[in-house]
Every structure is written in C-alpha cells, then in structure tokens.
Subunit: 545 residues, 2 copies
C-alpha cells in the first residue's frame, strides 16, 4: 500500500527510477566542465529550454511505463503478460539511457553556475537534476538491465512460492538478490554503511545509523506500550466482519476520499489485487483498492491510504509537471500522507462522529444498533498479529523494525539467506510475542525482497508514521479548529495546510527542509508517541506514565 508500486504488492520495486529519485552531493568532474565550456556561447535560456525538453521526454517515457503497469494490474488480459514485461523494461531502459546521456550532463554543468540568476523553480530544478544525474551515472546500464531481469524472474517465482509455502525454492533467488544489492551499493562506495545508498535513495539525507538510532528509541517506547495494551481486554471487532456488498464499499470509500480532497476529475479508483497509487501527470493520479466481502475496513482504509498518496501527487504545483521536481519528495514523506489520512484522520473519533451515521445508512442492518464507541474501538483494535499489512498502527512499526534489522544483517553478511526463516521467527517472538506457523505468513509474506531488492525497502513506513503525527500536530497548532472541522466532515483547512506546506513543493526542497519548514523542527518522534499514548491510552484505559 504505497505510492506507485508498478503493479507489485506494497513494496518499493528495485528499479533505477526509485533509486535515482534521491540525490547525492554535487560534483562537476573536470571532463564535463571542459565539455561544457565548448558550447558556452549558447544562452542560458536556450540551454534551459533544451534541458526541459529532454526532461519532459524522459517523464513521458516513465509515464507510459507507469501506465503499462497500471493496466497490467487492472484490465490487461492474462495473455498480455509476456509482452508487457518486455515493453515495460524497454521503456524504463530508454528513460534511463536518455537520463544518463553525457549531453544532459554538459547541459547541467553549463547551467549550474547561472542557477542563482534563474527563477526559484528553475534554480531548484537544476540543483535536483544535478543530484539525480550524478547518482544515475554511477550505475551501469548493464547492471540496470541485469537487475531488472532478475527482479522479474524472482517476482514470478515468488508468486508461486508464497502460496506453496516454499521458501527453499526462493533461496537461490534471494541469494542472487543479495549479491545484486551488494553490487548496487558498491557503485556508491565509499559509504559509511552498506545500506546507506538504499536509504538515501528512498529518503534523501537519512543514513543507516540515523534509522537505527531512531528505531532503537522508538522500540524502547513501543514494546512496553504493546505489552500494556495486551494486558487489557481485547477489543471486539466482529462488527467489521459481517458481509458487505462490494458496490457500497467502493462507493463509501471513494466518497470519503473525494470529500477529503481527492479530485476525481484528475483521478479514478479501480480494483486490484494489491492497492496502489500511480501518477501519469498532475492531471491524472489514480488509485486502486481491494474489497473483501467479510471485512469492511480493508477497502475503506486502503482507499483512504492511497488517496493520501494521491492528494500529495495532485497537490504538486502544476508548473513542476513533467520535470523531476513534479512528484513527492521521498518515500517517508509520501508515506506520512497516506498514513495521516488513513490513521490520524480516518481512524479518529471526530471523523466518525460525522461519518458514522452515513456509514449506518450506507449499510442498512449492519450497524443500526451498534454504538459509535464500539465501532471506533473495533477499527482501532490493537493485536499482536503475523501480517504486516493487516497490522494496527501500534504494532505495525515492530513489523517494520524486524524487517529493517534483518535487511541490515543480510547486507552486512551476518545473516545467511537460508537462516532467514529462523531469524524471522526469533524476531517475531522477541518483539511481538508470537511466531508464524509457516513461512507463507512469515518471511515470504512481503513482496519487497522478492522483487529484487534487499535494502531500503521498509524503513520509510515507520518514518511515515512519525512524520504523519509531526505534520498533523503542526497543522492543528496553526489551525486549532481542524479537529472540530473534521467532526463536521470538513477537510479543507487541513488539506489546504498540507498543500501549502508540503504538496505544492514537489521535490523543490529536500525532505529535511520540507519537515523543518512545515513544522519548525527536524523530524522528531515525540508528536508520534504523544499521539499513540493519547489515543491508545484512552482506548485501552492505560495508566498515565
């Protein structure tokens, strides 16, 4: 359930597009500078025009590749799969080739000295493109093709291995994936930690050490909280497990998303096996969801989650469309938006004070006699469970931390692939106190590693949770009426604040700059902990700390 997963489960696909999104320190090798001087008679305007023309062409290729993926997940007949894989690979490769064209590097070098005299948007564009370019040229085209081919083969094998609970068959794939991941990291040597390049790709400015410190501090708070909740009576969520027709489920979720600010003139909702959000242009940002007839929460919260991603993409300034600035800034900030709307808003009491009567009318006979409070407790039930994507917002981070820790161990060479199932079970026991009965619901459950990527695949989910609370707190501080507005079904003040402070900027600023500008401080976990303690302390009547 993340943004634009190119038709894979909710993982970040190991592709160069995602990798190149993040940025690296500016460099201007002598060779490129010399080449730049050769055509220095051309005006800045001419060069800027050429640069933007090249970037739009690359953006068009990527948009077409994204449409190939969206179509594969939604409407493509089964017979189209073989050619579709090849078509997507061709477009991604062409986009990569066009981006690492030395002529593009010369343009950037020629323009960089003039950046201070350009408009704000153009100056940011040159800075970001330079970072992206410097990262992209480090990775050989040959590697990109090899990694993509392995990722496709591994994914294909995983789609069979998971239902068959057959981890053994995935061992050779994962071993090769680990080799490829190590090879990828070497393109960025020297590094402080082998996982740094992956983390920087997803969340520019973050490091392995920073994530480890953050997660250690958070675990220190979360484990006791989960334990305290587990000592309380379990919430009854049977009201969510009745039979619900598909049409009203889709309608209700979409009505909520529209009301929140998701613009259907520039988007649409379709059904897929795994929910995702994808952007083809500022005027076309689509979401998908899935529907379970025996769980009303699945479609509803998936729709709102993806709509959070989509509102971010729809909110990016139209002037940035078709440029590398024209989308969300990082995985963590993106995830903060899906989680803010899904959890902090759509699982809040004020939200349901307004929406519960509508829900009752939309599903006659299902919630007629049920008090709002029971429903509210049901959608916020905390439970030690096996599957990350089904986890509540308190235990969710423990699932993420386990995966992050295992990734680090694998990359460091301390954990061998064949011992992964055992390490997984140990981690689950230690942090969550339960153990999966098989690998299907253990280390085979997430697509991320099996689509060809070990490293940087999971940490952004928890960063998203932390940032969601920090952004929300800042918005409420600026506009204390927000909770009251939400209790009357109005979201414009919150949506407006997010647009003004986050969405519209796209990638003009770094993630750190966005957080600092929007909230007045760097990322901090206090707002998130305060949010969790406040909400779940009340829900589970926990003693004050």
């Amino acid at each position: 359930m993340t943004k634009d997963r190119n038709n894979r489960e909710d993982g970040k696909r190991r592709d160069t597009t995602a990798r190149r999104r993040a940025t690296a320190p500016r460099r201007a090798p002598a060779a490129r500078a010399a080449a730049g001087r050769r055509d220095n008679r051309r005006s800045v305007d001419e060069r800027l025009k050429e640069l933007k023309g090249r970037l739009i062409e690359i953006s068009d290729l990527k948009a077409a590749a994204s449409l190939l993926s969206w179509d594969q997940a939604t409407y493509m007949p089964a017979g189209g799969a073989a050619a579709r894989g090849r078509q997507g690979a061709t477009l991604s490769r062409l986009a990569h080739e066009k981006f690492i064209d030395p002529a593009l590097g010369r343009l950037i070098d020629a323009l960089a000295p003039a950046a201070d005299h350009l408009s704000d948007d153009d100056a940011c564009l040159i800075r970001v493109v330079q970072r992206d370019f410097d990262k992209a040229i480090k990775v050989s085209a040959e590697y990109v093709a090899r990694a993509a081919a392995h990722g496709a083969a591994s994914y294909d094998a995983w789609t069979r291995a998971r239902p068959a609970n057959d981890f053994a068959s995935m061992v050779p794939y994962l071993e090769r994936t680990l080799e490829l991941s190590r090879e990828y990291a070497e393109f960025f040597a020297p590094y402080d930690h082998i996982a740094d390049p992956f983390i920087d790709d997803a969340d520019q400015g973050m490091t392995t050490a920073a994530v480890q410190a953050l997660f250690a501090a958070l675990r220190h708070e979360l484990v006791p909280l989960v334990r305290a909740i587990a000592e309380q009576p379990v919430a009854d969520d049977s009201c969510l497990r009745q039979r619900f027709a598909e049409g009203p489920q889709l309608d209700f979720g979409l009505a909520v998303a529209r009301r929140m600010g998701y613009d259907l003139a520039r988007g649409r909702l379709d059904k897929t096996l795994h929910p995702f959000c994808t952007r083809f242009a500022t005027g076309d940002v689509r979401i998908t969801t899935r529907v379970r007839d025996n769980d009303i929460g699945d479609a509803l919260f998936s729709t709102v989650h993806e709509a959070g991603h989509a509102m971010y993409e729809q909110g990016v300034s139209a002037a940035l469309d078709g440029t590398p600035l024209g989308h969300g800034v990082s995985s963590g900030v993106h995830e903060s938006q899906s989680r803010l709307w899904e959890n902090i808003i759509a699982r809040s009491r004020p939200f349901w004070e307004h929406y519960y009567p509508t829900l009752q009318r939309s599903f006659p006979g299902k919630f007629d006699e049920l008090p709002l409070d029971t429903f509210y407790r049901a959608i916020n039930k905390v439970e030690r469970s096996l599957i990350r994507t089904d986890a509540d917002e308190v235990t969710y981070n423990l699932h993420v931390m386990l995966r992050f820790a295992l990734e680090i161990e694998m990359l460091e060479g301390r954990l061998r692939i064949k011992h992964l199932p055992e390490a997984w079970r140990e981690g689950m026991r230690a942090d969550l106190g339960i153990e999966p009965p098989d690998d299907r619901d253990g280390c085979l459950q997430d697509v991320h590693w099996y689509v060809g990527g070990i490293g940087g695949a999971f940490h952004s989910y928890t960063i998203g949770n932390i940032l969601a609370a920090q952004f929300h707190a800042a918005a409420v501080k600026a506009h204390p009426d927000i909770p009251r507005e939400i209790a009357s079904g109005r979201f414009t003040t919150l949506h407006g604040w997010l647009t003004a402070n986050i969405y519209r900027h796209g990638r003009k600023f770094t993630p750190d700059e966005i957080v600092e500008q929007a909230t007045g401080s760097p990322m901090r976990m206090e707002p998130y902990l305060a949010y969790l303690r406040g909400k779940y302390g009340e829900l589970y009547r926990l003693p004050a700390r």
Copy 2:
C-alpha cells in the same frame, strides 16, 4: 469502426505509422551499400539479432503509444488529456526516430544479400523492413512533427465544429491539411497520381487509377441495385428500436464474438464513444464498442465488426510478434475481416437460425412474438441515408465513393475547400438521391479529413467489402459445410480457413499475394456483386437480371 484508430472516430489517423506500413520498391543507395561493407566481418546471425532487437524496441514504443490511446478512450480522467497528447506524441516520435536511424538502414543493406539463405520468416522480414525503411526515410522528421501537431489541433477544433454545424471554422484547418497532404505526396515524387502515395500506404500495390476503375465499375452495378430496392416496400426495423438494457446488449455481443473465435484470454471488450480494435501484442488484442439503449444493432454489430479485426490480429503467427510482420497486411484486407464477420456472417439467415432463440431469451418480452424473418429483414434494411457509419451494406459503398471522389478532386486542385459542402450535397443527390440538411450530417460527419489527412482515407472500406465476399466464397468453396455449421452456431471451420490462409501470415506476403494465394485469383468484384444480388434480390424480391 476500423482497426486501431488511436482514439479517433472510425478514421485512419494521418500518422506516419500508418503511412509507413505500406512498402515501396527496394533500393540500395550507393552510400548505404558502402557503409554496409565496412562492417561486413560481422556474421549474418549477429546482424539479424541486432535488427530484431531494434525492431522489438520500436514495436514496444508503438505498443505503449497504443495503450496511451486506448486508455484515453476508455478510462482516463478528463484532467489527463493535456499530458496524454504530449506523451503519445513523444512515443510516436521516438519510434519514428529509431526506425529511420541510418544504422538500421546499414543493417538491412548488409542482410539483404543473405536473405535467400535465411528462414522463410526472416527472409520476409528483411524484405518488408527494407520496403518500410525506404518509405520512412523519405519523410522528414520535421514534417512528421508538424503534421502531427496540426492533426491534433484540427481534431480538437472539429470536436467543437461538428456539433455546432460550423464548417466555416474548419476551412482554414482543412486548407492547411490539404497543403500538408500535398507536401506528403511530394516526398514520394515522381508518382502517376498525387493520391497514389496515400493509397499505397493503406493498400500496398493499389493505385488511384485502379481504385477509380474499380469504383466506376462497382457504381455502375450498385446505383441500379439501390434504385430497384428503393422501389420495393421499406423493411420494418421497429423491432430493433425498442429499449434494451446495456448489460445484456454487451453480454450478447461478446458471447457471439467469443463463439466466432475472439479469444478473451488475449483480449477484452470495453465501452468507448466510437468502437475500435487495438493490438498491444499477439496476446493482447482489445476491442471496444458503444451501446445505444434504443438500437440493439449498434452494440451487437459494432462488437462483431471489431472482433473481426481482432481475430485477424490474434491469428497472426506468434513467431512474428514484435516485428513489422506481426500485424494485418493492409487496410483493405483488415476491413475485409471486420465486414466478413459483421455482414456476411452476423447479418446472414443461417447465423440467426441459430442465434435468434438465444436473442429472444436474452431480451425477454422484446422479440417473443416476432418471426425470425421479420428480424432478419430488419437487420438488413436498405435505406438511402445521410450517415456513412449507419449505412446498410448496399448503400455504404456509395458513401465511400463520394468521399473518395471528393478527396481526388481536392488533391488535384479541382475542388476548393470552401466549396466542399456544396460538392458533398451534389454528390449525395446524384448517387443516393438525398441531400443533408446541414454540414453536421454532411461533410463534417467523418473525422478522417479533420484529423489531418486528405487522401487514402476511405477507399479501403469498399475494398474490404469486395474482399470479404471473395474470401468468404473461397472458404465456402473449400468447405461447403460452412453455411450449415454456422446455422448450428459453429464457426471453427471458417475461422480455421481464415487463420490458415490470411491471419497467420501477418505481413509476410503482399496484399495481392494474400488474395491470390487464398482465393486463386486477384481481387475481383464478382463474388461481392453475386453476394449482394443473391441476398438482397431475395430479401426485396427483385426481378432476376
């Protein structure tokens, strides 16, 4: 209602892809031959592999462009339109650039002498690619971009001008279109007639003179036939004009198409404003249809028509997929397949002997008391009408001939754009004996000229009608049981004959070769006239000639 119209009405879009489909005499300029000798140490196998790699890349770009169009016509939100136009243009341009790459020309020249020693498929591939290449390089990339931009602007203006009945606003667009068309023809000078390059693009081997001779002979037979029918009582088709729900209409049409041989594991049906068929790969050939709630014929016959195109594309040998051989051979042969299935089969008495009871059950209360014969007469009602796409199969060709004659006059400079409405009315009066009350239902009705192309836009429809009868007669001669099989709802013998004799070959042979091999003679109109006279002579009880 033609194959792959890239989201425009049933016209052939004036794009270079369509143009370059046809072929020209083989040439090997001295410069290219010399360049070819420079790398003659590489083996034929290596070169063939490189050639196919380049061709598949081009095919992938075109497939992605086609998906962009399909999506625009089916599911794209309105906000996506602006970026979508640019994305499609980028992919088409990149495909064109990659095709006219001189390195591709050198590969072809180096391989041509070895063609006789290659497999049958490979030898055909080299011959066809050489023809395509020699045509493509004649057209400047600058022209392609200019013509595409004008076509898009003109189409956009037409979408407003037609409902407003505003021909005057289209005059400057059409004048520019005519200029561009003349400019296009000059790339292929010298020619016998200025329309020859357009006709050869659509139907390799045909010329203006040949089409004119064919149409003159056909008009000579059709005008008296239409007159004789008009003297008979008008058929009652009110049974088709009841209210019909959308779902059952779509289901019935699709069930028929599947039974005929359209493979849904490699295809799908969606609704669009104007029906079309599009191919992304041999495993993914989609059709669209439209539904009118007061005309059961529209969705049904549109679906079958497009399924005819789609069965052709699905039937092309999978070994040719991704190469320039991997689709139907010409506009005329393609149209013969849509019309064969739509008219010769799905408007035949044997077909409805089987399907009428199913139709009656599918639409309870609508046909319960209606005799099969009345229904059969209704779906074959002949009527002098204004709109080509609604015309019956007898008068249809007169609509086509009018347009063809006007195109020739415009290209020859004998008809000025501003006099087009008047010439249209005169032509309608002369051939059909009726006159449109306004331009909306006159010379503004078809998109073809307004999307940027005057020349070669219409003649293929009538060639399709003629070839449909010729192919069908040959199939029945080879398998006299076909009508009996159809009367019991079985289509495998006919579908198998078409696959073996037409579909599987793709573009391995020329259209003339396909016709000759499949039917034992060149294209001839006698089977078509015999078909029309037999069917409509009986339906309208005309005196024997």
